[in-house]
């Protein structure tokens, strides 16, 4: 990757229970048995992740896998037991209370699973709330708030209370609130898990639309593998507090590092994940029926390729990098190889 690392987290641990600190003393790396013997719960164990500028980094895991604790360590809502976290070139774990408050006010935003809206404030006041905390005057903060409310499509609902809105609308408020300070790093903690499947889908589309406009750096938590595949640039799969694998959705599906990851990827519609470039051959045909982008998913080009009477050229930055044939597409669609 050529882009810069905005959040660098090295050997982060979060252990719960008495004597947790002693287990890690001197840089030791206790295994699951050692933790169990000390009756210490390892919520996050020796996690290393680098979040790059402008990417959507999804942390995927089932409940109890430590993904929520990890994201709380990254934002220091939970104090890690050991490790280093560097945010924007600063050592986040050494920041004192005042520094931390300053960082959170200006550089971080977070969206919560249960929305976490203030029940006594209207939509407008909720969205303006982070600015109110910063002491921005009413006029200015309401103006900024109105802008993000328009952005998430809630105009006309400014004076409603959260209780009067549907779940999807409430989460739009949560999203607007976290965006009002224009954060550099945007945490989303299972933002759509509390919503109905249909609304969830709609909110994912909305999220993609917003991200195409805003280009934020995002840490997104989910327990839904399909959601992860759909949204992520890179996915970290977590189990029992450890990261099993960090990879792009495509790599994950094609080369699962562990059986655990393979369990998830087995039932994924591969055509939605695998891209043209990974199934192309050298461009040897005499005739081409057309062009496809190198990063187009097989699902997106399947119809076009299968219908064509010749292979299609795979293009990157205006150059031909290979060809893709109907055969390769069908292999993916029926799950061969």
């Amino acid at each position: 990757m050529t882009t810069s690392v905005i959040l660098d987290c090295r050997h982060v641990w979060k252990l719960y229970g008495a004597g947790a600190g002693a287990l890690l003393a001197g840089g030791r790396v206790p295994d699951a048995d050692a933790l169990a013997r000390a009756s210490v719960i390892g919520a996050v164990r020796d996690v290393n992740v680098q979040i790059h500028q402008g990417e959507i980094f999804v942390i995927m895991g089932l409940s109890g896998s430590g993904k929520s604790t990890l994201v709380r360590c990254l934002s220091r809502l939970v104090e890690p037991t050991a490790g280093e976290i560097e945010f924007d070139g600063r050592d986040l774990l050494r920041a004192d209370e005042a520094e931390l408050i300053a960082i959170r006010r200006k550089k971080m935003g977070m969206v919560f699973q249960q929305f976490a809206l203030m029940p006594h404030l209207t939509v407008l006041e909720n969205v303006a709330f982070p600015l109110e905390i910063q002491g921005v005057d009413r006029e200015a903060r309401q103006q900024s708030a109105r802008k993000v409310i328009d952005l998430v499509g809630l105009q006309g609902r400014e004076d409603y209370y959260p209780r009067e809105l549907s779940g999807g609308q409430q989460q739009r408020v949560g999203i607007a609130r976290s965006l009002v300070v224009e954060p550099d790093l945007w945490f989303l903690d299972e933002p759509f898990s509390a919503l109905d499947p249909l609304i969830r889908r709609e909110m994912q589309d909305e999220f993609i639309r917003l991200q195409n406009m805003l280009k934020k750096t995002i840490v997104f938590i989910t327990h839904d593998f399909d959601e992860a595949i759909r949204l992520a640039d890179r996915i970290a799969v977590m189990k029992d507090g450890m990261i099993e694998q960090i990879a792009t959705p495509e790599e994950l599906v094609q080369n699962p590092a562990t059986d655990y990851v393979a369990d998830f990827t087995r039932h994924v519609a591969r055509a939605k994940v695998i891209r043209a470039q990974s199934r192309m051959e050298p461009a040897t045909a005499e005739r081409f029926a057309g062009d496809v982008a190198h990063d187009a998913t097989i699902e997106a080009i399947a119809d076009k390729v299968e219908r064509a009477d010749a292979p299609l050229r795979v293009m990157r930055d205006g150059a031909v990098i290979g060809q893709i044939s109907a055969r390769a597409v069908i292999d993916v669609l029926v799950g061969r190889g």
Binding site: L77, I103, M110, A116, M118, F129, E132, I133, Y161
Partner: protein
């Protein structure tokens, strides 16, 4: 034989044995004392008696007369507190009753009259409408109109002024302490035992030291009221703050809120609906205490009741009592509606359009002020229109006494002979040493050895203070009353849970009963049964009935539906469903109800000292009339100890049962 053996388990044998020995000792303690010539068996030896009461009285004396904290004396401190309370109280009295004057005595010139009765009613109606709807507005308005029409306005406004001063102080103080306890585990650890004790020490007990510190009068009454009403607010605050969802706190922290912003912009506003429930409690407890505190000079409706009880003025007592009931209902419903109020998006428009109620009320105040200058009837409700129900009630009572005296007397005598006296004899006969031991053993078997030791020590304190006899009378009266209350209350509660129609009426009635100040219960009881243990018992049963009913109904209703379905599919008849599924599962709730019943019974028992019992409550009451702080506090602590032992034992029973049921 097999069947019998199955029922006699080791546990049951222990309990049976304990009861048998106690009964035997109680029956023959006098003979044993005579035979051994050991008087210490039935009386705690006076040589070893604790003289805590004189120590406490001495300490208070020192506090009032000589205590000096370098810069100021203790006297200065109490005067400062008195001044802080007196100022708003006097302002409210002027506003509601006397009007504002400048100058003193003869030269007093009225600057402005008090709010007219019409304005006060308009205000009440507006508050009712704001809190919920026109229905509540009508109810609250009718309650205040009642006070005017039936000639209780003046006393009621005095009581209202006290309530309006005490509630903000109690609520704000409780909120502040609750926030402190939430933020510091250390403060919470310190507060918890104090709160436990405050909840169980009878109110009369701390009236005495307050009387000594602040003197007789409304200020002392208000101080006592605030102390009485604050602990539940502290508890509710701690609970409400702990109930704020974790995510909301995280949201606040992620926005970079400072600790102060967290408290005032996130925690407290998010907990407000729950906090309002606490404020409702503060209001009701304040009313209750303002009535009781008429004994140390609160004045108002409580004083009217007290005065008529003393004069045996039946009509006057019932009139004032009904006024209290009416006021309690108005305050309770209005403050409850506030707690349940949910915001909806607001209207736009001019100030007048956005605040129509405030505008109208302001208009009424100004209009009645102007009109009141010309037409006196607008300013204060004219005497000529007042209706006195006193004579009616006197006649009604006289009629009941003429026609039903024999019946009532027969019931009273029968119950006294069959239940009260034998139980009294049993408790009174228990030798103190055995009593201490038995209390320890019971607490140990049920709640663990620590509680066993604590219970024995507490009972030992009572004996050593020379209050064993009084304590046993308290136990007997409390025991009989609780037994009867549970006997009546549990079936009522079950009925209420089984039939929603009946349930609405029964539970509604219980809600109302529970809002009534304890004093009110004495009135009809004294009218019908005069003074004595029997009257006290009836008053206690009436007062303590509500929790028995409510918890029974709650317990039956809360049985998980899938268990009921399982029962029905197994072919249970409705009766079997009740006895084999619902009741066994409701036992923990029933026990909690029993616990509440005992607590309320003990607190009421102390107040029934006014109708001439001979228990610890009487001891406290005597201390109050003699302004003997030490005696009052020691007897009050004894009641609190009995309450704490009972509370822990019943709670442990409930927990054990829950564990057994896997709930």
């Amino acid at each position: 034989m097999q069947g019998l053996r199955r029922h006699i388990t080791r546990r049951r044998l222990v309990w049976l044995g304990l009861f048998g020995v106690t009964w035997a000792l109680s029956q023959y303690s006098f003979q044993i004392y005579k035979a051994l010539d050991a008087r210490w068996i039935i009386r705690f030896p006076s040589r070893f008696q604790l003289n805590l009461d004189s120590a406490i009285s001495g300490f208070l004396d020192w506090l009032v007369n000589t205590a000096n904290f370098w810069l100021f004396t203790f006297r200065d401190l109490t005067r400062a507190i008195a001044w802080v309370i007196e100022l708003p109280y006097q302002f409210l009295r002027n506003l509601l009753i006397e009007g504002f004057q400048s100058g003193l005595g003869q030269e007093a010139v009225q600057i402005a009259p008090s709010l007219s009765w019409i304005a006060v009613i308009a205000l009440a109606v507006a508050i009712g409408h704001y809190a919920r709807d026109w229905g509540l507005a009508a109810l609250v308005g009718a309650c205040f109109l009642y006070l005017a029409v039936f000639g209780q306005w003046h006393s009621a406004m005095i009581t209202l002024a006290s309530v309006l001063v005490a509630v903000p102080i109690g609520a704000a103080g409780g909120l502040a302490l609750g926030i402190l306890a939430y933020r510091s585990a250390w403060v919470e650890r310190l507060l918890r035992p104090v709160l436990d004790l405050m909840q169980t020490v009878p109110v009369f007990a701390y009236l005495v030291p307050i009387l000594i510190l602040f003197g007789f009068g409304p200020v002392a009454a208000l101080v006592a009221t605030v102390i009485y009403a604050m602990p539940p607010m502290i508890r509710v605050t701690i609970m409400a703050l702990k109930g704020v969802p974790e995510e909301l706190l995280e949201a606040g922290r992620m926005m970079g809120a400072t600790p102060r912003q967290m408290t005032w912009k996130v925690l407290v506003p998010a907990a407000t609906p729950m906090l309002m429930v606490g404020v409702n409690q503060v209001i009701m407890l304040t009313l209750n205490m303002v009535i009781i505190a008429s004994m140390i000079g609160a004045g108002g409706l409580g004083f009217d009741v007290l005065a008529s009880l003393r004069k045996l003025d039946i009509g006057g007592g019932i009139e004032a009592g009904l006024a209290i009931v009416v006021m309690a209902i108005a305050l309770d419903r209005a403050s409850q509606a506030f707690a349940e109020r949910r915001m909806t998006h607001r209207r736009h428009g001019s100030v007048l359009q956005r605040h129509p109620r405030s505008a109208i009320v302001l208009g009424v105040i100004v209009a009645t002020f102007l009109l009141g200058q010309v037409i006196p009837a607008v300013q204060s409700y004219p005497d000529a229109w007042k209706i006195s129900t006193g004579p009616f009630w006197s006649d009604a009572m006289a009629w009941i006494n003429v026609n039903f005296f024999d019946t009532l007397e027969a019931i009273k005598t029968a119950l006294l002979k069959a239940v009260l006296l034998p139980v009294k004899k049993f408790f009174a006969g228990i030798p103190w040493l055995w009593g201490i031991l038995a209390a320890g053993v019971i607490a140990w078997r049920v709640a663990g050895w620590k509680m066993g030791i604590v219970a024995a020590l507490m009972m030992g304190f009572i004996a050593a203070s020379g209050l064993w006899g009084e304590a046993m009378v308290t136990l007997y009266l409390c025991g009989v009353s609780v037994f009867i209350a549970v006997l009546i209350g549990t079936p009522l509660g079950i009925w209420a849970a089984q039939r929603p129609g009946a349930g609405r009426i029964i539970l509604g009635l219980m809600d109302t009963l529970q809002t009534l100040p304890s004093f009110v219960y004495l009135i009809p009881v004294v009218m019908l049964f005069r003074v004595g243990d029997f009257s006290a018992m009836i008053a206690v049963v009436l007062y303590a009935l509500a929790p028995a009913v409510r918890y029974a109904a709650h317990g039956i209703r809360e049985v998980p539906p899938h268990l009921l379905e399982a029962g029905r599919m197994a072919g249970c008849t409705p009766r079997q469903l009740l006895w084999r599924v619902k009741l066994p599962l409701a036992v923990p709730q029933l026990l909690l109800g029993l616990n509440q019943t005992i607590m309320l019974a003990l607190s009421m028992l102390v107040i029934t000292a006014l109708v001439g019992t001979r228990d610890l409550g009487q001891e406290v009451y005597i201390a109050l009339t003699k302004a003997n702080a030490g005696q009052g506090i020691v007897a009050g602590l004894s009641v609190a100890f009995i309450a704490i032992i009972a509370d822990r034992i019943v709670h442990a029973l409930s927990d054990n049962q829950k564990r057994r049921l896997g709930l």
